[in-house]
């Protein structure tokens, strides 16, 4: 009996060792790269100043030509959903480790690497356009890195008066005479929208995005790369709103909560019938 027990123990130990050595070949975790491809319809955007001959010019559903000189947005609250439905949150309460400013003028910001993602097959991706209200306080003490990245002189994603982050910042020109357009979005909400017990005032411009991957992203030996298309044609010609730019909305008050929600719903969805806004998945490379 005693020898049998020792034998069993030996067996268990060697099994454990074997599984350990296996883990060395097959990692428990790997990276996923999110690549953001900012487009007008299917064309990757080229930025340019008012008289640029190389900038990508888009035409809205209402026939307005426009192009951008600046294009930035904040991605946070990233969650990966496995094929079995389980959800892997990625530093969702830590803006330093889990949020980024995508700046179209800086190619290195178009790739955001999610590190240490558990092996498995992932079928869905969720993230936020903007920052959830509870983290949107410009708290430099808590998140010094993200605060600095967002606030840098050439980034300007602080919305000082609202003590929150700008969620999107788009500068550009519209109509054939290149009038200036400037769309900034951000939240002013106090409490939670739709909860009368807590809500007091303001607009919640954060939008939660859900994207189903066309094929599974398989995290294992390889680190998948997911290309996310952000189609800024939707800014004026969205699923929710068709917008004509003019003196009332192209520059005045788009810095403010007035009129802003129309743009927010086009870019990030309306939070109910449209959960993807301008975003879609272009490809998954394993």
């Amino acid at each position: 009996m005693k020898t049998q027990k020792s034998y069993l123990l030996f067996l268990v130990c060697s099994l454990a060792l074997m599984s350990c050595s296996k883990n060395d070949d097959n990692p428990v975790a790997n990276n996923i790269t999110l690549h953001f491809n900012n487009t007008f319809k299917n064309t990757t955007i080229v930025l340019g100043d008012a008289s640029s001959s190389t900038a990508t010019v888009n035409t809205s559903a209402e026939g307005q030509v426009h192009h951008f000189s600046e294009l930035k947005y904040v991605i946070s609250n990233i969650r990966l959903i496995k094929a079995d439905g389980s959800e892997i949150p990625y530093n969702i309460n830590d803006l330093d480790q889990g949020a980024t400013v995508v700046d179209h003028s800086k190619p290195q910001t178009l790739d955001y690497v999610l590190s240490n993602i558990p092996v498995g097959e992932y079928g869905q991706l969720k993230f936020g356009l903007g920052v959830r209200p509870e983290l949107n306080t410009l708290d430099e003490v808590r998140f010094p890195d993200f605060y600095a990245a967002a606030g840098a002189n050439d980034t300007q994603m602080h919305w000082e008066w609202g003590t929150g982050y700008r969620f999107t910042k788009i500068e550009g020109f519209y109509d054939t005479d290149h009038k200036e357009m400037s769309v900034h979005t951000g939240s002013t909400v106090e409490g939670t929208n739709g909860e009368p017990d807590t809500y007091t005032q303001g607009v919640d411009a954060y939008r939660d995005i859900t994207l189903t991957l066309p094929s599974h992203a398989i995290v294992g030996e390889h680190a998948p790369r997911i290309t996310i298309n952000a189609d800024f044609d939707k800014l004026l010609s969205g699923k929710t709103n068709t917008i004509i730019l003019g003196t009332g909305n192209a520059k005045p008050s788009t810095h403010t909560a007035a009129n802003m929600v129309l743009f927010v719903d086009n870019l990030g969805g309306n939070g109910s019938s449209d959960l993807s806004g301008m975003f879609s998945v272009g490809s998954v490379e394993n």
Binding site: L138, D139, E140, V141, P144, Y147, G151, H158, E160, W161, G162, T163, S182, T188, E190, T200, Q201, G202, V203, K251, P252, S253, H255, T256, A257, A258, N259, M260, V261
Partner: protein
């Protein structure tokens, strides 16, 4: 077995010791400063109860209020724009901050804030503790950051001492900065004007002009400048000339509601004598010019205040009435509050 138990209980004892270390007694007597609520004033903003002024909290807040290190180049303090002699406002058309940069709006006076439900012209701030960060980081005001501020004052003996006395810990913290400045501001209560003394039957009396002014005021001004704060704290579009900045939308900047476009919080008239010019971006140099404007007729707007709409977009006033109203408004001046 017994040894194991002994070891375990020893470990538990150590753990419990560790825990007790966390709780530190506050070594200084730091009494609360009671806010004397003037008769007839509305109730306190609920957030005051979560950050009650204390002796050293207020002392620290007052020091920080006058601290130029809050600005990027050490030139601007809160008091640079919020001057006591102007009822903690200033006399510029629009606020002037670091490097002479001009802000969007006219500096609001800081008085009776403990009783206000909304702060700033557009009411974007509901809790006073959340306000100090705004000027610190704003490009046109102090152009700094809270970590930059903490870095500049954290080793200063006086600040360490005051933080220890106010909050029980000498470490300079962001929350301590916000809370102490708010505590100081909560104590800025103005209720000792001639009007107040008459109301309290302390022997003063209105002059004839002041008394006539009070009558006209009650008929033509008090719908909005109501309560003992002389504001109903509502947001109204009264058809004043519009700020040309694309950043300005009034209350709609916060709410996103078109009906709030170019609506602003009704300003208190207390100490108005000291706070010229008037309007959200200093459109009016004098009280007389405000009254002339109302008399001549205001700008029309879809969301123009119904009281004005119902009266042909104006408040008709005779020259005598204007003179009398101004006499009355000057009885709301609190010379002790402004240190004169």
């Amino acid at each position: 077995m017994e040894r194991v138990l002994l070891f375990l209980s020893g470990l538990l004892l150590l753990l419990s010791c560790n825990r007790e270390k966390v709780i530190e007694p506050i070594p200084y007597d730091n009494p609360e400063i009671p806010l004397n609520i003037p008769d007839g004033f509305p109730s306190l903003n609920a957030f005051v109860g979560e950050n009650k002024p204390t002796k050293y909290g207020v002392e620290l807040g007052e020091k920080l209020f006058h601290e130029k290190k809050l600005s990027g180049n050490n030139t601007i303090s809160c008091a640079s724009c919020h001057k006591q002699s102007s009822a903690f406002a200033d006399n510029n058309v629009q606020a002037i901050g670091i490097y002479g940069r001009v802000g969007l709006r006219n500096t609001p006076p800081l008085q009776n804030l403990a009783f206000m439900k909304f702060f700033n012209w557009d009411g974007n701030i509901l809790q006073l503790e959340k306000q100090p960060l705004v000027p610190i980081i704003t490009h046109e005001e102090m152009n700094s950051s809270i970590l930059e501020v903490i870095g500049k004052i954290r080793d200063d003996y006086e600040y360490k001492d005051l933080f220890k006395k106010a909050f029980g810990d000498e470490n300079v913290t962001a929350d301590g900065i916000y809370q102490s400045i708010a505590q100081y501001e909560y104590t800025l209560i103005s209720a000792n004007s001639k009007y107040d003394r008459i109301r309290r039957n302390e022997g003063d009396t209105f002059t004839e002009s002041e008394a006539r002014g009070y009558q006209v005021f009650q008929q033509k001004c008090m719908s909005c400048h109501s309560t003992e704060l002389f504001t109903d704290q509502r947001f109204r579009n009264v058809g004043f000339p519009v700020n040309p900045s694309t950043e300005e939308a009034g209350r709609a900047r916060v709410t996103g509601i078109p009906a709030d476009l170019m609506s602003f919080r009704v300003p208190s008239l207390r100490n108005a004598e000291y706070t010229a010019p008037y309007g959200s971006f200093g459109q009016f140099p004098t009280l007389k010019s405000v009254l002339d404007y109302f008399d001549n007729g205001v700008l029309d707007a879809d969301n123009l205040d119904p009281i004005l709409k119902d009266n042909g977009n104006r408040i008709p006033l005779t020259e005598q009435e204007k003179e009398d109203i101004i006499s009355f408004i000057k009885t709301l001046s609190d010379s002790t509050f402004v240190g004169k």
